[in-house]
């Protein structure tokens, strides 16, 4: 190991571009047809939208970021980068097939798309494992990442299993497998990776350190123990086990939140706008995990007077949009400018005076992006509680404005690639 990590900004940026286009498309769909989000979750259009957003938006961004963060966390260059491009091609081919299949109720298309997406993820896991193998650290971050890939494999396997069953006429939906697939996919993979990435990025960006190893490990163990119980508890319909599973996940996440807040309290840097927004995403987490606990135990979410099936849409909106999307949007104001900066100025470091990274973030666009997205998500959560189509459309429009501003910022930052702002470097005289 020579300590140098070769970056792959183009690969990560391509995944991010795909993710943002998917998010914009998903939000536009909701704005045009708000009825998709009202009523029970088991309806073709909603299943299509859920896969479009979870795989197309969050999946693209998480997987793309892993091509950048994986080598950083493993402290080793990315292995087999060509496989990463192959993964992107499979992902972008398989996802539309799968989503079309869900919307049309055609399980042949779902299976074809699912096989392509899964093949891409296999390529992804190969690159990540090969990268991690070179210098893997058995700390909570390294362990959580590997566990996240395990849950990704389980989720994809379950998806293919259910689709195969439907084609063979063996299963009538919705089944317990579908609930397990949804919980393990969104929580097993995304939450585990979100925890790992946050535990790595918060110390890096906020200039702080891990405050408690014991707390971090306990958080990981509790969350994973809860996740491991999801499938047996759901299949056995055993209520105490379902409560235990949900409570373990919730308590694990509260410990994670405690650690993050402790790190932020001991930071050595004033948080800038994107970091404050990122920190705000953690506020959604206890709400989302409490909702998941109630949903798993089908308590009816009496606070909102929704049936559990409609409550599922609300809980996953709080979690996937409130927590994860807020975190990703905020962190994309750090990661994308960094990748562009590195591509534009990395080779000029020490040769010319280069602009600071912060110059790639336009303050007004950032404010519009963060305000529009945050208000949009808050209104959407209220709209789902009230089952109001008008408010859902209003929320989608606000969210769309926020996403549009974020995308505009990233496109504008590309100017630095075409016209780098370099100034001569004045060497001090002896």
């Amino acid at each position: 190991m020579n300590g140098k990590v070769q970056a792959r900004p183009a690969l990560t940026l391509s995944f991010f571009a795909a993710g943002f286009l998917a998010l914009a498309g998903g939000v536009l769909t909701v704005a045009l047809d708000p009825a998709i989000l009202t009523g029970p979750y088991y309806q073709p259009k909603l299943l299509a939208l859920a896969h479009w957003l979870v795989l197309g938006w969050l999946g693209s961004v998480f997987l793309g970021a892993a091509y950048q963060l994986g080598p950083v966390i493993a402290e080793s260059p990315l292995r087999f980068p060509l496989l990463g491009w192959f993964h992107l091609a499979l992902h972008l081919t398989g996802l539309p097939c799968m989503v079309y299949g869900f919307a049309a109720g055609n399980y042949h298309w779902i299976l074809a798309g699912g096989v392509l997406v899964t093949s891409g993820c296999i390529a992804f896991v190969i690159t990540q494992l090969a990268t991690a193998q070179a210098s893997w650290r058995g700390d909570p971050v390294g362990c959580a990442l590997v566990i996240g890939w395990f849950w990704l494999a389980v989720t994809l396997g379950l998806g293919l299993f259910m689709t195969g069953n439907r084609l063979a006429g063996l299963e009538s939906a919705p089944s317990q497998w579908l609930r397990i697939h949804a919980i393990l996919g969104t929580t097993g993979f995304f939450l585990t990776v979100f925890n790992a990435v946050s535990l790595r990025l918060v110390p890096m960006f906020a200039v702080t350190t891990r405050q408690s190893n014991a707390r971090t490990w306990t958080s990981l163990v509790q969350t994973q123990a809860g996740l491991l119980l999801v499938a047996p508890a759901s299949l056995l319909h055993f209520s105490p086990l379902l409560w235990l599973s949900g409570l373990l996940i919730l308590s694990g996440q509260l410990l994670f939140l405690w650690e993050i807040l402790a790190q932020l309290a001991r930071r050595h840097r004033q948080l800038d706008g994107p970091l404050n927004w990122f920190a705000g995403s953690f506020l959604w987490l206890p709400l989302a995990m409490t909702g998941l606990l109630l949903l798993m135990n089908r308590t009816g979410l009496n606070l909102t007077m929704l049936e559990p099936e409609a409550g599922a849409v609300l809980v996953f909106t709080v979690y996937l949009l409130g927590c994860l999307t807020t975190a990703v949007l905020a962190m994309s104001f750090k990661i994308i400018p960094f990748l562009v900066w590195q591509a534009a100025y990395g080779r000029h470091l020490g040769r010319s005076r280069v602009p600071p990274l912060s110059s790639l973030v336009h303050e007004r666009l950032f404010l519009l992006a963060s305000t529009g997205s945050t208000l949009g998500i808050i209104i959407l959560v209220g709209a789902l509680s009230e089952q109001s189509g008008f408010l859902i459309r209003t929320a989608a429009i606000m969210l769309g404005v926020g996403i549009g501003c974020a995308m505009t910022n990233f496109i504008l930052s590309g100017r630095h690639l075409r016209c780098p702002q370099l100034q001569p470097l004045n060497f001090p005289t002896a």
Binding site: K4, Q68, E75, H268, Q270, Y345, L349, G350, L357
Partner: protein, 100 residues
């Protein structure tokens, strides 16, 4: 020559934090022998994606010093970086840094 080397290393910035590698306490040690320089560097984050760029930048700013023949950068993975390594004045700057 060491003070001149340090002055030159101050020209290598961390783009995210806005401080240079000397202020950040990344320079652990500088060895100089007959025009051959060896800079021991502690990365703020192990596996930092800018490490290659930082290494090239150090070469670039040091090789133009009269009398310097070779420059070698050694990443010290055995020494963990921590915020306590930041120069006290720079730390104040960091805490007062405004949003970009």
């Amino acid at each position: 020559m060491t003070s001149e080397v340090i002055d030159r290393l101050r020209l290598v910035p961390d783009p995210e934090l806005g401080l240079n590698i000397v202020e950040l306490g990344m320079v652990e040690q500088i060895e100089e022998l007959n025009g051959h320089l060896r800079v021991h560097l502690v990365l703020t984050s192990p596996g930092c994606p800018l490490s290659g760029n930082i290494e090239e930048a150090i070469h670039s700013v040091l090789r133009s010093i009269p009398g310097v023949e070779t420059v070698m950068v050694e990443f010290r993975h055995d020494i963990p970086w921590h915020p306590g390594r930041i120069d006290p004045e720079a730390r104040e700057k960091l805490m007062g840094q405004q949003s970009g």
